[in-house]
Symmetry: C2
């Protein structure tokens, strides 16, 4: 089968250009530039990279950005005080607290301290709950990125069987909720996970297969239906001495053997990954425009 | 097959007796009786019956109850003021606003005005969101009643295929979220609906089939796998001149032809229905004990 390679990098670049254009129009009309703040605690390599890329994406979109850095030994109270300041600062439209946090800090408490109207990561229970029942809200970046790719590539979803591998709070669960909703996927949705007795059988029936289990190469050609659309959310760092960084990103799907069976497939890297930060930018623009909340 | 009839009426009676015993122990220790309030607007026949049964259930459980009645012409602001009073009244542990509300009132606005710590219906976005990500919270009565029946009847769910018919906000969606969670069903979950192209095929593979589409007799014997557990959430009023009330309740499942194929099946009436009010009582007890929130 001649598959379509879903190019997340190009799609993200297009959307960032669209955002920048809208921002310049807002500014030209005398409006305020969207302003995203990020809190980064400690020096985790992955987190450093993500936050740096978020700041760069802000520049690309014409946003202001503020990075607040703290050492690993910040107390929970100090971090909560910082969250409160950002909640109250009218110049900040949205902000994120880069996860993971050090173990002495209760992540959930920090997330719930964020004003849901500035929660551009969509992790606050109010946004999670509103998403579940189909109300306007911030949808977290990875699910929103996948929905956007499916839409921009005109992948048929209505009435189709969508199988999601993985039930994490940040990908599998919200993805399931969105794919079943009339206003989003309108699909028949199945969620499989480590306990599923019929995982392979389910995968083989999927018109859309979304793999988000973090096991490199888990999805093999015999698990994929001819003509399926395959979305690979896996981004496991696999040691690779030939790379300067010492690792490469590996998806959950064996691309080389699976791609020839697909109608659409996302590569890793360059598929879902680049969309994630782009969707954070879109949420920040929505926050600045008060699109979901007054 | 020799099926087990899942007796919701008897299970609910047992649980109410357990609740009453715990309440009397609390009172004997000098504690306060749980107190549930209900707001009823207008004179809808169904709503009158539900609220009356909730008040009776409070008596059976040893709770105090307060019924606040308003005419159809109450304004949204007046209703919101009543919600605020109940939020602030320390004697009220939990309360519900009986739905549906008159069309001039925004239901979602009223639901979101309820203090989530007193939201024993579990409809506030904070409870919906916390449930979705597996945090302690009020789970709405119908899904909680179904989970309780599955547990008390030792229906195997872990790793099994659970098919849910219907994607409503009060049954299908929360049921899917709970059945997929490790701490609840731990099942492979599929949600089918009006748009599903493969609905019948999915049903035939289900170890657990939960029908919640409100179409009398929709599930026929040929849609059910031998040995399946079938949960019928349908309660459509069908005209029946032989009844005093002029109607009978009809489930989504053709009981007579489906039951012989089942391992477990719930009747209508007497299955899921009686569990619903019972779970509201359990949530009220949890509220009084501040089990989920301080």
């Amino acid at each position: 089968m001649n598959y379509t390679l879903v190019d997340g990098k190009a799609t993200a670049a297009t959307i960032k250009a669209e955002i920048k254009q809208e921002v310049e129009e807002i500014v030209a009309r005398g409006g305020k530039r969207p302003h995203l703040a990020a809190i980064l605690v400690g020096h985790d390599g992955g987190s450093e990279t993500y936050v740096k890329n978020k700041v760069l994406a802000c520049e690309a979109c014409g946003f202001e950005s503020t990075l607040l850095r703290f050492e690993d030994d910040i107390t929970e109270d100090e971090l909560l005080a910082c969250v409160t300041q950002l909640n109250e600062n009218p110049d900040i439209d949205g902000f994120i607290v880069q996860l993971p946090l050090p173990r002495h800090i209760n992540e959930q408490r920090v997330i719930e301290a964020i004003d849901y109207r500035k929660d551009v990561d969509g992790f606050h229970p109010i946004n999670v709950g509103r998403m579940a029942i189909g109300l306007p809200c911030f949808i977290s970046a990875t699910p929103l990125g996948i929905l956007t790719l499916l839409k921009r590539y005109n992948v048929p979803t209505r009435g189709k069987k969508c199988v999601i591998l993985g039930r994490s709070n940040i990908v599998g669960k919200p993805m399931a909720q969105l794919m079943m909703q009339k206003q989003w996927g309108d699909s028949t949705v199945t969620v499989c996970h480590s306990r599923s007795e019929t995982l392979v059988e389910e995968c083989r029936k999927a018109d859309i297969l979304i793999a988000a289990i973090g096991q490199p190469g888990f999805v093999t050609a015999d698990m994929v239906k001819e003509g399926a659309a395959v979305i690979d959310v896996g981004t496991t760092r696999v040691p690779d001495p030939t790379r300067k960084s010492g690792f490469r990103l590996s998806g959950d799907v064996r691309f080389d053997e699976v791609a020839p069976r697909c109608s659409f497939i996302t590569p890793v890297p360059g598929g879902v990954g680049p969309m994630t930060i782009c969707m954070l930018m879109l949420n920040t623009l929505s926050a600045a425009k008060k699109e979901f909340y007054k």
